[in-house]
Amino acid sequence: MTTFEDRLWAELVTEHEHRLQAPQPPTAPAASIPPTSTRTHHRRRRRPALITGTALATATAATAAALILSASTSAPPAYAVTTNSDGTVTVTLNDISAITGLNAELARDGINAQAIPMTANCPVNAPLVTMPAGTDPTTYTMTIVPSQIPAGYTGVLAAGQTASGQVELLQGALRPPVPACVNSTPAQIHYIDPAHASPAMKAAIAKARRAAEAAGKP
């Protein structure tokens, strides 16, 4: 083992030990978590939602094919919010235009999270701090773990649309007020949980946030 490899391992353990030791956020298929409440809303033609980021790397082609097949045979709901018995919240968004309805639903259920559109031309370069998100590549829904949202932050589901029209969701947290939209530039996404970031990373995140706030002002 070399110096670089040892130091990197030490850094990974220091900064991410909580994710390696704490039980991972529940990711079991929704079917195995008995839902306590589910409301779904039907709209016109739907496309399967696709979660970007790490889930994409592990989603299999077979799963994606199965989803596209099921999407063409039956219309899934525009959005769905399910509060699970373990306190986690499963969110599905199949139609980008249903964000308003989804947010109303989240607010009604008292969930500290909001969906916002993620577009290439949004002037807000919010440094979205991504959290350990429960994602389920088999159903392409996203699980919010409210206990993982840092104090003083609001959970954010950035909802974008790929060139082919598929919805993509990215989960993170921002300090309120939550902007009306967020820029989809990958550079703005930081894979760091602020509660466990090193002082240097915290400073970098704070600097990026200040820049984003300045850029977001008219």
């Binding site: 390696l20 030791q21 990711t27 790490t54 790397a57 082609a61 970098a204």
Partner: protein
């Protein structure tokens, strides 16, 4: 993954298993980036990013679907693609700054040596520059990173049959290039 001691607490087991995955694969992942970048700091950042992302998606890793090595190379490929998008973008500075860990002199030297070690691999990749990225990476993972074709298929998220076609094309192209020179 090596079997953890039977007495290990369940939470400790995750850490031990991940450490085994890290120790086994970190050199291969570093080499993957050393074939693409000439900057030690960048190789370190992208290697770090790959493992941070692996920790984040640990819960979705399913050993029945493929090896940990295939899973990691799949992540490494996405990390590199994202890096390319970032550098093509004017906001690059912010993200690069956030991910940066200052390297020690000894680490810089060590990584510079690894970058040097990958000279032949870089040359191979540059000869395949005109091939689609998928074919180039398929050949790289099998010939240079030592993955079994099945693992490479998993890392690239294609079927084993599709991978064979890609490999065949990439090798053909390489042969033609060699005949020409």
């Amino acid at each position: 993954m090596s079997a953890p001691p039977a007495t290990a607490a369940p939470t400790d087991r995750v850490l031990r298993e991940f450490e085994a995955v890290y120790r086994t694969n970190v050199a291969g992942v570093t080499a993957f980036f050393a074939r693409r970048c000439l900057e030690p700091q960048l190789v370190a950042d992208l290697t770090s990013e790959t493992f941070v992302e692996a920790i984040g998606s640990l819960h979705s890793f399913d050993p029945s679907r493929g090896t940990a090595r295939a899973w990691l190379f799949g992540i490494a490929r996405h990390v590199y693609a994202r890096h390319c998008e970032r550098t093509a973008n004017r906001h690059a500075a912010v993200a690069e700054l956030a991910g940066r860990r200052e390297l020690g002199e000894d680490e810089i030297e060590e990584l510079a040596a690894r970058i040097d070690d990958q000279r032949a691999g870089r040359e191979l990749l540059s000869r395949l520059a005109r091939l689609p990225e998928l074919e180039r990476t398929a050949l790289e993972l099998v010939e240079l990173a030592g993955l079994a074709p099945r693992e490479a298929a998993r890392a690239l998220d294609v079927s084993p049959a599709a991978l064979r076609v890609r490999l065949f094309r990439a090798r053909n192209r390489l042969r033609k290039e060699q005949e020409r020179t």
